[in-house]
Symmetry: C2
Subunit: 212 residues, 2 copies
């Protein structure tokens, strides 16, 4: 079936939100850890983290705060402290991770409410998540409120990386499936992911082939 922009615009609001949130395909399940200047922590699940560059190591993230939403506290803490952590969610913890999306009051830490443990990361005001095998401390480098729809683009430089031992392969890549991380689709679906197939660098005059 084909849907035109007019047909998309005519869809009921929640139906369209479900549909459009599915369009990017598989997304990472990431818990964003922050703390205000007094050290009160906050934790929120997001699925819009993306790679921006390796030298310097930069990651982008979209936050879509509404006045009552959970992402509002996260955004305020990041702007106040320039510090946040990105923590990959293991498949074993998707229930608790999803629960961080509930609208807890400002003085409630989702770490406590949802059963996660704060981890100290070097050069990071914001706490990591002990239960995550891949914790990334970021220093905010750029913040834009996008004029097109008021969402916020945050660009962070990786200042500390905490990884399960043995997770990094000889060439620097990480076997994320072996870490049993979860993928997300849409607003509310969490998936296990199978081991991957790795392909060699592609060349025009060569047939594609798998890495060993």
């Amino acid at each position: 079936m084909q849907l035109s922009s007019e047909q998309l615009a005519a869809l009921p609001r929640r139906y369209r939100a479900q549909l459009i949130n599915c369009l990017p395909g598989f997304k990472p399940a990431v818990l964003v850890g922050t703390a205000d200047k007094e050290g009160n922590s906050n934790l929120a699940i997001v699925n819009s983290v993306f790679h921006l560059g390796a030298a310097p190591p930069l990651l982008g993230m979209i936050l879509r705060p509404d006045p009552e939403g959970t992402e509002r506290h996260t955004l305020e803490n990041i702007l106040a402290t320039k510090s946040y952590t990105l923590n990959a969610v293991p498949a074993s913890h998707v229930t608790a991770a999803h629960q961080t999306s509930a609208r807890y009051p400002r003085d409630t830490s989702e770490f406590t409410a949802c059963g996660f443990t704060e981890a100290a990361l070097e050069q990071s005001h914001a706490p990591g998540v002990s239960e995550s095998p891949l914790q990334i401390a970021c220093a905010l480098q750029e913040h834009q409120e996008l004029a097109i729809n008021g969402t916020h683009l945050l660009i962070g430089e990786v200042v500390c990386l905490s990884l399960a031992d043995g997770a990094v392969r000889e060439d620097g890549s990480i076997d994320l499936a072996a870490l049993n991380l979860a993928a997300v689709t849409g607003l509310d679906s969490y998936h296990n992911v199978a081991p991957g197939q790795r392909f060699a660098y592609a060349k025009p005059d060569q047939d594609p082939h798998l890495l060993d």
Copy 2:
């Protein structure tokens, strides 16, 4: 193990590129279809498509062109025509999809070279990919070269959506795992994804629970 920013900066270039590209976690495998003004088509795999908003339906994408890279032709076509398509890659086609990342000459279409078929989408100058069960035509709304590292942020509005029949659930969500789409990690790994668990909208005073 923990790595500091100094340790990250000291890593060999390729090792660091492999490592940092893995940090976002699972990413969508997406083929970007474009055509120049004369209709010569181009196809390139990317894994940095993300959701920006549902009303209007907006998707973001990062392109990291280098002077000889395959993403250069894609960027040039998008800027010239304001039109591009995002096509989810089925797991059955990851070998051919990865091969589009080879540096083919400008006058070679990766559709032909890699065995994909152009599909016509309403309101779209750019061709879709027939082999994809989820084809999205976008009209460019915003383009920024990010000062921080010269990557390009492209924001597109969805103007046409072509989906396999039966792919959309009653509430508007798409069962992407049932479409047998691939997830990507790092620069070169392609994964199958298991059926998902769906959680109800989370509330502070309620235990998390699964949707039926």
